[in-house]
């Protein structure tokens, strides 16, 4: 056990080994292995139903895996809720459908978890929230409600809300897929900035421009498994597998 831990590079903040996840009789993830170093930016892509969303939803245990191991920052995800909570504090997540709290204003959305989970006082939480809303350039809307904002604005609020917990890793689950085309860029720009700041990121996305610009590694998934892993340049220029070539042909046109 100890040896095994030592063979892993100590900078691996996410380690996934032989991960299996089933929904009833459907196997969504079949023996997936993945490791992410601190500060690394990973883009996960693949056709729909390939298991990419399921994979990142397993990383903060929104989905429970059936077998295999997931170790986040040294803590293994099991049924022990205390470990799960510890991991969730350090892992921020941005959803396809934003999932902002509609009854709370933008700034309250950002303050809730820092106050309840991190124990920040209201003024401290407010200051942090405004700071991060400024970072995603939406602080002038702080007192509005999510329903009054455009999709792109809502997604930037969702990013700020996750950042308010000062996570060590950010997970993005198709953050631009529910957006009107003209709003995709404002969200991608925010994500690029975040990547420049050195945040460890795992992004499920079809935005290949984003992948080229910031990803250290592209993970291509199909039918519940990782088919190909490469740096973006190699992946886009010379994909090794026929399945990846087929996928790229489809999304580039």
């Amino acid at each position: 056990m100890l040896q095994e831990a030592q063979t892993k590079r100590s900078s691996d903040i996410v380690v996934v080994e032989n991960l299996v996840k089933r929904f009833g009789r459907f196997t969504a993830l079949n023996d997936v292995n993945l490791s992410v170093r601190t500060g690394e930016r990973i883009v996960v892509c693949g056709p729909s139903g390939s298991g990419k969303s399921t994979l990142i939803r397993c990383l903060n245990r929104i989905e429970k895996h059936d077998s295999g191991r997931i170790v986040i920052d040294g803590l293994e995800l099991t049924d022990r809720m205390t470990d799960v909570t510890c991991v969730r504090r350090e892992v921020g997540m941005v959803f396809q459908s934003f999932n902002l709290f509609p009854h709370l204003s933008v700034v309250e959305n950002c303050m809730l978890a820092p106050m309840k989970v991190r124990g920040l006082s209201r003024p401290d939480a407010h200051e942090r929230a405004i700071g991060l809303l400024r970072k995603v350039r939406i602080h002038d809307q702080a007192d509005k409600y999510p329903g009054q904002l455009s999709g792109g604005q809502q997604q930037r609020v969702a990013i700020a809300r996750a950042l308010c917990m000062q996570p060590r890793i950010m997970l993005f689950d198709e953050p631009t897929s529910a957006l009107d085309p003209e709003m995709v860029n404002e969200v991608l720009e925010t994500m690029v900035e975040l990547a420049r700041d050195g945040m460890t990121m795992v992004c499920v996305t079809h935005e290949m421009g984003f992948a080229r610009e910031v990803a250290d590694r592209v993970v291509f998934m199909d039918r519940g498994g990782v088919v190909e892993e490469a740096d973006p340049d190699t992946f886009f220029r010379a994909p090794r597998t026929e399945r990846a070539r087929g996928f790229l042909r489809q999304i580039i046109h």
Partner: protein, 231 residues
């Protein structure tokens, strides 16, 4: 009886007023007990707790299938006997008509409020729960700060109409010889023979209070509506 004489109402007003106050107090108590207990019942079912979930479901099915007036009777006559047996003396321990009314109405309404909240809980988008998980919020904070506030906003019109029904149902306490607004009016009507005036006035009071409550909630809803939602 050929002409209406409302001067009688003026004399009767103090008695009617005390009846009205009792109706309002009973409504308020039943609302508080019913909503708190009903929310707990709804959550127990929502969490699908193994044994207690079934018990609660059975309780709600039972309560909803018998008339309130029967529950009042049972509670008034049976609970003192049960209490007596539990106490060991075997002699009934009376709990009094007022307490019977407050507790019974609370327990009865809990079943109805619980159904409203249970449906409301199901209407909350799954993404809301996932967002709370992702932010590491505890189950308690998830429900208290995120889920229940949304449920109560969505369900408030139905909760209100249930409460108006409750307010009108308080007249059933006549079976316990308690005097609510309608009870007060009908007693006076029997005494002075002015049935039409008395029942007209009572109808107007019920109408006034119920529609004022509707108006009040409508304006509250406007103020606290979740801004910009189209759900």
């Amino acid at each position: 009886m050929n002409s209406l004489d409302f001067s009688i109402v003026l004399q009767a007003w103090p008695y009617l007023w005390s009846g009205l106050l009792f109706s309002l107090a009973l409504t308020a108590a039943a609302f508080v007990i019913g909503m708190s207990l009903g929310t707990c019942f709804a959550l127990v079912q929502h969490f699908e707790l193994p044994v207690i979930g079934r018990v609660v479901r059975g309780y709600i099915a039972l309560i909803r299938s018998i008339p309130l007036i029967l529950v009042l009777f049972w509670f008034f006559f049976l609970v003192p006997i049960v209490l007596g047996h539990l106490g060991g003396s075997g002699r009934p321990i009376p709990i009094g008509a007022t307490w019977t009314a407050f507790i019974t109405f609370g327990l009865f309404e809990a079943a109805y409020y619980s159904e409203i909240i249970r449906v409301g809980l199901r209407a909350v988008n799954r993404g809301q729960f996932e967002a709370c998980q992702a932010l590491a919020l505890s189950t308690f904070d998830t429900y208290r700060c995120v889920i229940l506030p949304q449920v109560l906003r969505v369900a408030s019109p139905i909760i209100l109409s249930q409460t108006i029904i409750l307010f009108q149902d308080t007249s059933l306490v006549y079976v316990l010889s308690l005097t609510d607004l309608l009870g007060a009016a009908s007693k006076l009507a029997q005494l002075n023979g002015r049935l039409v005036e008395m029942y007209l006035v009572v109808a107007v009071v019920y109408l006034g209070i119920s529609s004022a409550a509707s108006q009040c909630v409508a304006s509250l809803r406007k103020r606290y509506a979740i801004a910009g939602t189209h759900r």
